[in-house]
Amino acid sequence: MSDDVLGTIQSWRAEGKRAALATVINTWGSSPRPVGSQLGIAEDGAMVGSVSGGCIEGAVVTEALDIIEGAPAKLLTFGVSNEQAWDVGLACGGTVEVYVEAIP
């Protein structure tokens, strides 16, 4: 198991893979991972670290792959009573904000 998100991203880049970084920047209520938790995503879909207990990683990876392809960095919000287009929420009832950006 490796928690070294930034080190892993750096080794992906050394292999010529593009990558993105997702960071929990705010939480309300019950949330599985604290502010500052990070998930690294490679262009081939590989992941390191986490931003939740597995509830929202799928959606974050989907966004991250778009951002790797050139979409701008994005602030995502996940929560139970979310009116946005997200299908995913947190079963625990909390809300998290996740910032997703490319590391070119």
Binding site: P34, V35, I103, P104
Partner: protein, 231 residues
């Protein structure tokens, strides 16, 4: 995050320097501060100084709003440290558990047959006497010290040094009887009740642990409990 910021951040981590990455979320401008000094990125408004210092001290990343924008202050502190005194069987279980939990672990034991590379592959081993070793390692408020030797000649010098430090967790393995004699010796050495009460002895939560791995779990659990309890 630009590649330059990523590289500077990784270099700071490798050098065990506390780093703070401050992002302005409105435009994703990023400033990296290492050891309190700005290394890359734009100057920050002075109103952020106290927030940055507090974030490092409390090891807590935070988002905040100021008239200058919306900011995310992310702390990258060096890992917690664990000093294990006594390269005994329980240490062989405790060391990998603590490493999984994110601790940088050092094992201290002057007995080279115990503190042998073959028993602790890739773990920093110190063969100095525990008081000298602790002086060099200089435990701080993000360090735990656990003695496992059962031998007062080795445990006591380590505990004495640990009590003079800010270590957040100090524990000594040994039965209640062993601990009672230890408390008496420390009293005789001039420590008062409040100081001695910092030592968790017998080490670990009372889980009824029997095997070395189970005892290591109980120590790891207690260390986590102390770390995460509000102080």
């Amino acid at each position: 995050m630009t590649p330059a910021v990523l590289e500077a951040l990784l270099a700071a981590q490798k050098a065990h320097r506390p780093a703070v990455l401050v992002r302005r979320l409105d435009d994703n401008e990023q400033t990296l501060i290492v050891d309190g000094e700005r290394t890359t990125g734009p100057l920050l408004p002075p109103s952020l100084d106290t927030v940055v210092q507090g974030a490092v001290r409390n090891d807590k990343s935070t988002k905040l709003e100021t008239p200058d924008g919306s900011w995310f202050v992310q702390v990258f502190n060096p890992p917690l440290r664990l000093v294990v005194v006594g390269a005994v069987h329980i240490a062989q279980a405790l060391v990998p558990m603590a490493q999984l939990a994110g601790y940088a672990v050092t094992v201290v034991d002057p007995r080279r047959a115990f503190a042998a590379e073959a028993r602790f592959p890739d773990v920093p081993l110190v063969h100095d006497w525990p008081d000298e070793a602790l002086d060099a390692l200089a435990p701080d408020a993000r360090t735990a010290v656990v003695t496992l030797t059962h031998d007062p000649k080795l445990d006591d010098p380590a505990l004495t040094r640990a009590l003079h430090s800010q270590a957040f967790y100090i524990a000594a393995l040994g039965s209640k009887k062993t601990h009672a004699s230890r408390v008496q010796r420390l009293h005789d050495a001039g420590f008062d009740d409040t100081q001695i009460a910092r030592i968790h002895g017998p080490a670990g939560l009372n889980l009824g642990a029997v095997s070395p791995a189970e005892i290591a779990i109980s120590v790891m659990a207690q260390m986590t409990q102390v770390l995460r309890s509000p102080r």
